[in-house]
Symmetry: C2
Subunit: 270 residues, 2 copies
Amino acid sequence: MTTQQLTEQIKKKKSFLCIGLDVDLNKIPKHLLKDEDPIFAFNKAIIDATHNLCVAYKPNTAFYEAYGLKGWKALEKTISYLNKNHPEIFTIADAKRGDIGNTSTMYAKAFFEDLAFDSVTVAPYMGKDSVEPFLAFKNKHTIMLALTSNQGAFDFQTKTVDGKELYKQVLETSKSWVNSKNLMYVVGATKAEYFADIRQIIPDSFLLVPGVGAQGGNLQDVCKYGMSSNVGLLINSSRGIIYASNEIDFAQAAALKASELQKQMEVILE
Amino acid sequence: MTTQQLTEQIKKKKSFLCIGLDVDLNKIPKHLLKDEDPIFAFNKAIIDATHNLCVAYKPNTAFYEAYGLKGWKALEKTISYLNKNHPEIFTIADAKRGDIGNTSTMYAKAFFEDLAFDSVTVAPYMGKDSVEPFLAFKNKHTIMLALTSNQGAFDFQTKTVDGKELYKQVLETSKSWVNSKNLMYVVGATKAEYFADIRQIIPDSFLLVPGVGAQGGNLQDVCKYGMSSNVGLLINSSRGIIYASNEIDFAQAAALKASELQKQMEVILE
């Protein structure tokens, strides 16, 4: 999927919502645990109930790896289900990978080829040659951590490096990498006041914005400072939507929460 | 396994060699491709031929994820085989993970509980609350990237942050984290001249050192500047050992290469 197609979907659905599929077997409705594949059963119900309200889904790989083979199988089934039934939806493997060149190429193959995600999140610490192997894939997107939503972001990301905060150095430096047009960035909603500065460096890039909902970020503030001419935002909510209820009505409850966010987005897009 | 037990193994085997199990189906001997599980067949043969010469094995998860379910299954079989037959060997999941707290906990469960590795590599960019969930596991080790072996290390890691290189800030800062005694660090062999400075900050911590072999690092230089009173080094070689031959004799050829490194280590340990 191209970024242009993504923007078209946003305008069509009047939504720039991304739903995080972080499935924890301790949090999903008890009745699903009898299912042969509770993780996929949960995801399928959430997707069926919310796909008109969002433009992207983001399974976080940690929640699948924690269940070993069964988890990886559920991840495969989830992405296959999305690609088959909702090919217009942008898919994000939230994996935060990054390694030396030949290893990053293997990760890129895992997520772009084997699983056929549209995008994957990566960490910048190892620099250019750890990210460029991902960028080499045509019409695939590499979403690099810039300024994350957690408290630990202040440990290194906001420290001053050669007169500029590290996350700004990361943004600046990455613009010179080969195929940098395939880059998007993670910027946490809990740090809305930083978006204006960030847009000075990367005016048009898409930003994946976690932290609305459970982590306390504010949608209006993020949009005020972070929206670009092509919208350029994917606002993620995971727990706030998928765990809205853990009863039999969980999917409808999730749709209701997603719908609340979509309606706020519709107003902002107008 | 405790670090004390690891040091005892090093002294017993006269080796601080770690062998990287980065299995690429395009590089392994052709005859193995007929096996039901070529990746595990390859690993098993390498382990059987080299386990007396090394103290650690390090599968890099990228090489397993790239083959989807089959790859993950081969990873499970490899770690089970090691834990069952060679419980004295230190196992490293080279995964370079790191995410917000509740997600890092899921990664820690994946590698420490589900797969039962002794250790996992993590990236520092997201700071304290992304690493501490790993550190909470007793007798498990979290190996954090400090100064990596690739060229991209110079993009951010060696940049000056508040008067000190970023990788030094990472080392310093991490010492204050809860359960920091469970930390080890990745420092590339290609940057041997940095080890003296690093030992000023973390005199006793174990360092996982990639970059000897295919990447050009020098064993003697690393040991000269990096060895601590408890040895404190795990020198990794992956491609240089496991792909020494891609013929029927591949395991013996790997053992020969491992033996060359072990003999150099024996001299250094004396």
